[in-house]
């Protein structure tokens, strides 16, 4: 897209305290060509977590000793772990599901689990994570612009000529050219078309 969002191979992080289930889930997910990493508890996952981790999604059991799945969702938010989550539940009640959704869990899959459904949900979650990352990346880059540069960038993306922009902002064409050049340089892009794509992503 903008060229700066590097598409790494996505990973599915499987967290289940039951070692049999953990291994079997990873084997199932691996059968559609996805990479997996398994953890036997939330603490183990959190200890391993790096903020710049690969794109991916989390699959975890609601019922786990230590920190439960619901509590974990709250902690994830505090720790700014933005991965989409698929919660597996043996006894998912509606209030629990709505609470999970409100906390940002992507999905709530009830046991016994339909494997195809689970795999579909994982693919959806991974796609969502890629989009979310692109959006965060674009936003982060736009943050580096001054307000004036951002204004100019938006008008450039909208297809306006430098002269029109200068008129709209009450500045000289030369000043606008300067803002435009700096904005494109900071964003690491070359053309107005790429700029438009970047702004769409935010």
């Amino acid at each position: 897209m903008t060229g700066a969002v590097v598409a790494k191979k996505p990973l599915v992080f499987v967290i289940d305290d039951d070692p049999d289930v953990c291994v079997a889930l990873a084997w199932l997910i691996g059968s559609v060509g996805l990479g997996t990493r398994t953890f036997h508890g939330i603490a183990e996952f959190l200890a391993d977590w790096r903020p710049d981790a690969d794109s991916g999604c989390l699959v975890l059991d609601v019922r786990m000793p230590g920190m439960g799945g619901m509590e974990f969702l709250e902690r994830m938010r505090q720790m700014r772990i933005d991965l989409p989550v698929i919660m597996l539940s043996g006894h998912g009640t509606i209030p629990m599901a709505t609470r999970a959704l409100r906390l940002g869990a992507v999905d709530f899959v009830q046991k016994p689990i339909d494997e195809q459904l689970l795999l579909d949900r994982i693919q959806e979650a991974l796609a969502r994570d890629v989009q979310a990352r692109a959006r965060r990346e674009a936003n982060a880059r736009l943050e580096t612009l001054t307000e004036r540069e951002r204004e100019v960038a938006r008008l450039v993306a909208a297809g306006r000529q430098n002269k029109e922009i200068a008129q709209a902002l009450g500045a000289s064409v030369r000043t606008v050219e300067g803002h435009r050049a700096r904005a494109l340089r900071k964003l690491g892009i070359a053309s107005a078309a790429e700029l438009a794509l970047l702004l769409i992503a935010t």
């Binding site: 305290d17 199932l28 000793p65």
Partner: protein, 255 residues
């Protein structure tokens, strides 16, 4: 019930019925979860294999692994069924020679199995069982119920330990007259006013919906019905110590 007073027997039947129902519900929920785990593992394992096999990507070694894993999971499921069936399908109460160590071991095993209550802190279950413990004369199912209740209470208490690791220790020892069983937890313990009332039916320190307050009342009735006694005291190490004494079976009793 040859040894119990009529009043004690009446109390037992009333509260026993209510408590059995409650325990049944808890047991069913725990059991459903425990059996679902190996079933889920089987489904994932076989489905993962099927997907690979359809694309011709399942080699022989993988296939053997898959089959072995699936069989192991089915064994795990049937093991759970066997253990629970042993607990619930016993017939009319009957006094036989009972090995208390065996009751302790089996109920510890069952409690470990019940750790399936997710979202709660794990508790370490320890035991120090005297070798060559003499048998007692009693109803094994009832004694198991006592043990299970004491363990459930101790585990619940040991979860309230804050940052420390929750611990429960079961000890047995015996002499010629009696077998003594004690269950210690490192939980917050009870204040004297609570300790005084703890064997009363419907007295509970647990939040609503967690306990009916019948467990210890039943335990006391059963123990007294067996000619023994049960008491609670604050443990020197902190937490609560529950101990009970049961007379040993005399020679010549039914086997």
């Amino acid at each position: 019930m040859p040894n119990g007073s009529p009043a004690a027997s009446r109390k037992l039947t009333e509260i026993e019925r209510a408590a059995r129902l409650h325990q049944l519900g808890e047991l069913a929920a725990g059991l459903a979860h425990e059996i679902n785990q190996p079933l889920a593992a089987i489904t994932y394992t076989l489905s993962g294999a099927l997907r690979r096999a359809r694309r011709g990507e399942l080699n022989n070694a993988q296939m053997l692994d898959v089959l072995q894993a699936a069989i192991a999971h089915t064994h795990r499921a049937s093991e759970i069924v066997t253990r629970v069936r042993g607990l619930v399908t016993r017939q009319a109460p009957e006094k036989t020679r009972v090995c208390i160590n065996r009751v302790v071991r089996e109920m510890l095993e069952l409690s470990r199995l019940g750790k399936g209550e997710r979202g709660v802190r794990p508790v370490r279950l320890l035991d120090e069982l005297a070798p060559d413990l003499p048998p007692v004369l009693g109803d094994k199912v009832q004694l198991e119920q006592v043990m299970l209740n004491l363990l459930a209470n101790a585990i619940h208490a040991a979860r309230q330990t804050g940052q420390r690791e929750g611990r429960v220790l079961v000890r047995t020892r015996g002499d010629r007259q009696a077998v003594e069983l004690s269950v210690w937890d490192n939980g917050p313990g009870l204040v004297p006013a609570q300790r005084q009332r703890m064997f009363e039916p419907f007295f509970t320190t647990k939040p609503d919906g967690v306990g009916l307050g019948l467990g210890l009342a039943i335990c006391q009735t059963i123990v007294e019905d067996h000619g023994g006694r049960i008491r609670a005291e604050p443990a020197p190490e902190g937490g609560l110590l529950l101990s009970l004494r049961l007379p040993v079976a005399e020679d010549g009793g039914p086997r």
